[in-house]
C-alpha cells in the first residue's frame, strides 16, 4: 500500500513538474533569441546548434546543479522581431536570462526591454554600441564574444608586422563593415598605418573588379577586409586576383567561416584571417571537445559561431550553478554574472565580467589564421 501511495505521489509530482503548471523552485528557464533566418543566420544557426548540443551534454553528465530549460526563438535578423521575441520569452516563458539577440542592432532594440523587465541579455555580437556605458540599459547587456574594436586591433597589429604603411579597406555595406572602417582608420593610425583608400559593396554585388581596381590604383601595401558575408569575401579575393591587386590581405573574423575557406581557390593562399578560436580546423582542447559534440549530433563546425553560442550558455550555467539553491530571478542572474571571472568554457581565453566591464572575452580568445588549401591554419 505504501509503495502504491508513494508511486502515485511521485507520479503526480512528476506530472506537476513536467506540465510546468507550477514552476518548481528548482528549474530555471533560459531564453535563446538568435538570428535563425535572414543574413545573420550564418552565425545564428551554428550558435543555436552549439547551445543545444552543449545543453544535452551538460544534462547527460549531470553537471547542472538544477535543471535548466531552454526556449528558442528566431529574431529573423530584424529588430522589430527581436523585440517581439524577447517580450515573448520574458512574459510568456518567464525566462531569467536571454542568450541573444543575434545582432548588434537587435540587441540595441531589445535593450530597453531588458531594462524594463529586468532580465539580462547575453549578446553574441561584436558591435561596440551594445555595451556603451551611456546606454540606459547598460547594466542589463553583456557581451559573450570579443568586441569589434578588440578584433580590429589584433588583426591590424598583425598587419603592422609586415611594415605596410599605406593600407586599403574593403568593407560590406552594413553596420559591421562601416564600424570596422572607422576603427581601422583610428587604430591603424596608432600603429603607423594610414588608410589611403576605402571601397565597399552591398551584400549582393555581382562584380567587384572595379572596387579591387580602385584599391590597386591607390597603391596600397596591404588590404583589410571587413566582411562577414562569405560570398562577398570570396568575390572580392577573386576580383583582386583578377585585376592584379597583389597586396597581402588581412581579413577580420567575419570571414573566419568554413563557407569562405571552401569557396576560394589556391590563389589566395596566405590570406590572414582573424578568428575566435579555430574550431573547424585547428581546435584547442576545449574546442576539440565541442567539435566532437557537434559531430555526434550530425553538425559540421562552421567557424566561431558555435563557440560564441557556447560562451553564452556556459556563462548562464556558471551563473546558475553559483547561486546554488536560492531563488533565481533576472536581477540575481545579472548580479551573479557581474561577479563571474574564470569559469569553464569551450573557447580559449579567460572569460571575466565585472560591474564596470560587461565585455567578457578579450584578446586571449583570438587567433590569427592563415588560409591554405581551403583550410584556416592557426599561425603560432
Amino acid at each position: 500500500m505504501r509503495r502504491l501511495v508513494s508511486l502515485v505521489l511521485s507520479a503526480a509530482a512528476a506530472a506537476v513538474v513536467s506540465s510546468g503548471a507550477a514552476l518548481s523552485a528548482d528549474a530555471v528557464k533560459i531564453g535563446v533569441v538568435l538570428s535563425l533566418s535572414g543574413p545573420a543566420a550564418v552565425f545564428g544557426i551554428p550558435e543555436r546548434d552549439a547551445i543545444q548540443v552543449v545543453m544535452e551534454k551538460l544534462k547527460a553528465d549531470g553537471k547542472l546543479k538544477r535543471p535548466i530549460e531552454l526556449v528558442i526563438y528566431d529574431d529573423k535578423t530584424n529588430p522589430t522581431e527581436a523585440t517581439r521575441m524577447v517580450t515573448q520569452a520574458i512574459s510568456n516563458d518567464k525566462v531569467v536570462a536571454i542568450i541573444g539577440p543575434g545582432t548588434g542592432g537587435n540587441i540595441l532594440a531589445a535593450g530597453p526591454l531588458a531594462l524594463r523587465m529586468q532580465v539580462p541579455l547575453l549578446g553574441p555580437a561584436g558591435t561596440m554600441a551594445i555595451t556603451d556605458r551611456k546606454n540606459e540599459f547598460y547594466p542589463w547587456v553583456f557581451r559573450v564574444a570579443p568586441s569589434d574594436r578588440v578584433d580590429v586591433k589584433v588583426i591590424l597589429e598583425d598587419m603592422a608586422k609586415s611594415k605596410a604603411k599605406k593600407i586599403g579597406v574593403f568593407f560590406q555595406e552594413d553596420a559591421y563593415g562601416k564600424t570596422g572602417v572607422d576603427f581601422a582608420k583610428e587604430i591603424g593610425a596608432t600603429l603607423g598605418m594610414e588608410v589611403v583608400e576605402t571601397v565597399s559593396a552591398p551584400y549582393a554585388a555581382t562584380d567587384l573588379t572595379a572596387q579591387a581596381t580602385r584599391l590597386r590604383n591607390a597603391g596600397v601595401e596591404a588590404v583589410f577586409l571587413q566582411v562577414s558575408i562569405s560570398s562577398l569575401g570570396a568575390s572580392f579575393v577573386k576580383a583582386a586576383n583578377q585585376v592584379g591587386l597583389t597586396a597581402p590581405a588581412y581579413a577580420n573574423a567575419g570571414l573566419a567561416q568554413r563557407s569562405f575557406a571552401e569557396s576560394v581557390g589556391s590563389e589566395v593562399d596566405g590570406l590572414r584571417v582573424l578568428s575566435i578560436g579555430n574550431l573547424p580546423y585547428d581546435p584547442s582542447e576545449g574546442e576539440a571537445e565541442l567539435a566532437r559534440l557537434l559531430k555526434q549530433a550530425g553538425k559540421v563546425p562552421q567557424g566561431w559561431g558555435e563557440l560564441v553560442g557556447s560562451n553564452g550558455l556556459m556563462t548562464v550555467v556558471a551563473a546558475v550553478n553559483a547561486q546554488g539553491d536560492k531563488e533565481i530571478t533576472g536581477v540575481t542572474m545579472r548580479d551573479t554574472i557581474e561577479g563571474l571571472c574564470g569559469y569553464p568554457a569551450y573557447a580559449r581565453g579567460k572569460p571575466c565580467f565585472s560591474k564596470d566591464s560587461h565585455d567578457g572575452w578579450a584578446e586571449d580568445s583570438l587567433v590569427i589564421t592563415e588560409l591554405r588549401n581551403k583550410e584556416l591554419k592557426t599561425r603560432r
Binding site: 543566420a41 572595379a210 581596381t213 562569405s230 560570398s231 570570396a234 585585376v243 569562405f260 569557396s263
Partner: protein, 283 residues
Amino acid sequence: MYVLTEYIVRGIQAGSIYGLLALPMSLLFATAGTIDFAVGAYALLAAAVATIIAGPLGIAVAIAAAVTAAAGMGVIFLVLTRIGTKDHIVFALASFGLAVAIASFILWQFGTQAFVRASFSQFWSLGGIRISPQGVINLGLGALVTLLLYLLLYWTDLGRMMRAAAANPSGAELAGIPVARIQFGTYLAGGLLGGLAGIMILYSAGLDFTASLSLTLGGFGAAIIFGITSPLRCLLGGIAMGVAEALAAGYTSGMVTAMVPFLFVLIVLSASNLGGAMAGDRP
C-alpha cells in the same frame, strides 16, 4: 584615361549578366504586360544547384531546375488568367511570392553557404588590362543569346506569333494564335535565361541566398534603359548599367554605387512612357 578605360572594360564584362537577366523581363513584358519578380530567384536556384553538383552535369541540372521553377510560375500565371485576373500587378505579386518561396527553399536546402566556383586562374591581357576569360565568356554568351533571340523573333513562325501576341493579344487570339501558351513559354524562357545568368554569376563573382531580389531589380533596370519592349536592346542596357556601376565604384562613394540600379530605374521611368498608354486612359 587608362584608368577610365579599365573601369569601362570591367563594366562591360560585368554588364552582360544584367543583360541576360534583362532579356526575360523584356520578353515577358512585351508578351504579357507584367514582370516576373522571380527571375533573380531562378538565377539563385541554378547557382545553388550547380554548386552542389559539379561539372557540366551540374550546369544541366541547374538550368533544368530553374526552368522547372519558371514552369511553376507559368502554371500560376495560367491559373490566374483562367479565373479572370486582369490586373497585371497580381501576376507580378504572385511572382514575388514565388521568389520569396524559392529563396527560402534555397536557405533550407543549401544553407547559408556561398555559391561560387573558381573558373580560370590564367588571365588574358587586353592592352595591359587583365581580363578574366570568364568575363569574355559571359559577354560572348550574352551576345550569342541575343543573336539567337533575334533569329527566333524575326525568322521563325513562333517568333512571329510572339510578336503578334505582344502587339495585339485579342487580335492574335482571333487569328488562332495560342496567346496563353506563348505567355507560358515566355515564363519558361525566363527560367532558362535566369538560370544561365545564375551559372555565369556562379563562375564570376558568386552569390548567396540573399541575392534574389537585387538580381531581379538589376535585370529590370537594365531592361528599361533602352526600352523594355525591345528585348534585343537588353544586352546593351545591361552593359550600360554595368559600366555605370563600375564607374561609380571607381570614382564615387559606396553610397552612390549602391544607388546606381535604382537611379537608373527612376530616371528612365520618369523620362519615358513605360509600355505606351498613359496610366488610366481608355485604350
